[in-house]
């Protein structure tokens, strides 16, 4: 019997028609994800080695995004940079979902003093401005891109914990959960069978939204130079280096536009997911 019941999370995707904007957004995100996992597949240029004679060339068919002060192909640098920027954002969201989700789950499901203690911790995490929190965590861990990802994840733990807790509380009070208890359902059964599937939809939507924000926060931290130093080419770092050459504005605009297109698409998808709820 239980195998035949589809999880409520899967149902609503297939039945509705998808708006054009969302399709484009999915295409952009898939493209950027492909860049980040297979950068070598999309560009033959080396992101770290340039041809000095070709420096400061504007965008052309040979160099789509132009070249930088060392004659390196900017498109190659953006594509290779996405593998650290986008992967970092994924790691950050993963940390936030797992840690925040666990905190919220325990707080909401166990209740009592565990709820009191964890809720105060979440209050603290939410009280410190997200970006400042990320800054102090990364400065505590050391200036590396992986630490930037961890810091960004930590800064979003509070949001996920709060959403997870409220979802768990909502489900725990539902009549069908009460019925399940009365039928002799074990706590573990209730948790995995009812509470988690019901909470997962909201958490997933939030995770998509947070993925976009994480890209922005990571870019901000990289911009301030808290990630790997050059020749790494995180998007934020590319803008930060590019701003020193005002006569080659593409050095700022190309990575910035890629970043904006990505985050815009992610936000669009997240908004669509919320609406189809």
């Amino acid at each position: 019997m239980s195998a035949a019941v589809a999880l409520p999370t899967v149902r609503s995707f297939s039945t509705r028609s998808v708006p054009v904007g969302v399709v484009i957004s999915f295409a952009v995100v898939v493209f950027v994800l492909a860049w980040s996992f297979l950068p070598g597949f999309f560009t033959s240029h080396d992101p770290a080695v340039g041809v000095p004679a070709d420096k400061f060339q504007g965008p052309s068919s040979a160099h789509w995004f132009g070249t930088d002060h060392l004659g390196r192909d900017l498109f190659a640098r953006v594509v290779h940079g996405s593998s650290s920027s986008v992967t970092s954002a994924l790691i950050a969201v993963l940390i936030a979902v797992v840690v925040g989700g666990l905190i919220g789950l325990v707080a909401g499901f166990v209740g009592g003093w565990a709820d009191t203690v964890l809720s105060r911790l979440v209050d603290v995490l939410l009280a410190i401005p997200e970006f400042l929190l990320a800054v102090i965590v990364v400065s505590a861990l050391g200036f590396e891109t992986i630490n930037v990802a961890i810091a960004t994840g930590v800064s979003a733990v509070g949001v996920f914990a709060r959403v997870m807790r409220s979802e768990v509380l909502k489900t725990r009070r539902a009549v069908f959960v009460e019925a399940s208890y009365l039928q002799g359902g074990a706590r573990w059964h209730i948790l995995t069978r009812h509470v988690l599937p019901n909470a997962s939809r909201s958490v997933f939507t939030l995770a998509v939204l947070q993925f976009g924000f994480a890209i922005l926060i990571i870019a901000g931290l990289a911009f301030l130079g808290y990630g790997d130093p050059p020749p790494a080419s995180d998007w934020g770092l590319l803008v930060s280096v590019g701003k020193n050459y005002p006569l080659a504005p593409w050095l700022v605009y190309a990575p910035a536009l890629v970043m904006i297109a990505t985050v815009l698409s992610v936000n669009r998808i997240s908004r669509w997911l919320r609406k189809t709820d």
Binding site: V124, L125, P129, L132, G220, G236, V239, A256, I260, L264
Partner: protein, 320 residues
């Protein structure tokens, strides 16, 4: 009243915990940054001064004693001493506080103006032309990194048009543009809520009644829709305070301003931990304080909301 008291108490606890939390995060640091910073010849501390600071922070004692000591100092308002300059942290902060307050307040002003312009625009523009574009603004604003906005503004208005200079950046126009850079992402959050509320309210029956009585669009907007739609903005603004303080780190760096944000940035590079801890705690105080006030004042603005009621939900205990 009892509710207010409980909320104040809760806020105080959160602030104290925020201090402890930052302390813990900072002491996770590998190595011994405090001693490293102190012994760094660049900072030019004499052996005596080093001994004095080590004794002050109890650096020769276990971590929990250090925490206890700095916490008991914090409670009476002592924020400690900078490891870089040896000056009291409270002085370093108060020197730059006003600049950041001006920036943040102007940014909030910019954000409100923009948000209300977008909100009103969606009510006036015809559905076909312009409205869709206007509705896309908030999500666009939320998708642009604030340093890109800042660089764009500087490039166009400082370099191309020469309206202000980035070097002596405390001037009026320079502050305005910095405020725009900081305020745009915040305006998006306000506009999102405002637009949704205006749509919701204008579909209510009382709005149809007012329209059928011949009330024009402006009259309807100003007399009926504006107040219920803009009240929730109070809550959004309170939540956005954190974003203003966090965003100031980047905005101040780009616009070459000295403020809390640039103090944070400098303290991060020099590992001046007491300063970082103080600023973060201060940000938490501001955030918690503003949100506390917003929550307490809200029912006075909106009589439909009563304090405490939503909080005292009957607790359902699940039989295990």
């Amino acid at each position: 009243m009892k509710y207010a008291l409980r909320r104040v108490l809760q806020a105080v606890v959160v602030v104290l915990l925020a201090y402890v939390f930052t302390f813990v995060v900072i002491s996770v640091l590998p190595g011994d940054p405090v001693t490293n910073t102190l012994r760094n010849p660049q900072n030019g501390f004499s052996e005596e001064e080093i001994q004095r600071i080590v004794a002050y922070y109890g650096l020769d004692r276990p971590v929990h004693e250090q925490l206890w000591q700095s916490l008991s100092r914090f409670v009476v308002g002592d924020l400690g001493v900078s490891l870089r300059s040896g000056l009291p942290v409270s002085r370093l902060i108060s020197e730059v506080l006003s600049s950041t307050l001006v920036l943040a307040a102007s940014a909030l002003g910019v954000a409100l103006v923009l948000a209300f312009a977008i909100g009103f625009g969606t009510q006036y523009l015809p559905k076909r032309y312009g409205q869709g574009l206007l509705r896309a603004f908030p999500s666009l604003f939320l998708s642009v990194p604030n340093f890109v906005i800042g660089l764009l503004l500087i490039n166009v208005f400082a370099f191309q048009l020469g309206l202000f200079r980035v070097i002596d950046s405390e001037g009026g126009l320079a502050t305005l543009f910095a405020a725009i850079a900081l305020g745009i992402p915040v305006s998006a959050r306000i506009a999102e809520v405002l637009v949704a509320n205006l749509d919701h309210e204008s579909a209510e029956e009382y709005a149809s009644v007012a329209r059928s009585r011949g009330l024009g669009r402006t009259g309807l907007l100003l007399r009926h829709l504006l107040k219920p739609s803009s009240l929730p903005v109070v809550t959004v603004v309170a939540l956005a305070v954190g974003e203003l303080l966090g965003g100031a780190v980047i905005t101040e760096q780009i616009f070459g301003r000295t403020g809390i944000g640039s103090l944070v940035e400098r303290s991060v590079t020099t590992q001046d931990l007491p300063v970082l801890q103080a600023v973060v705690t201060l940000a938490a105080i501001v955030f918690v304080g503003v949100n506390l006030i917003a929550d307490l004042v809200y029912p006075l603005l909106d009589p439909r909301v009563r304090l405490g009621e939503s909080r005292s939900r009957p607790k359902v205990e699940v039989a295990a």
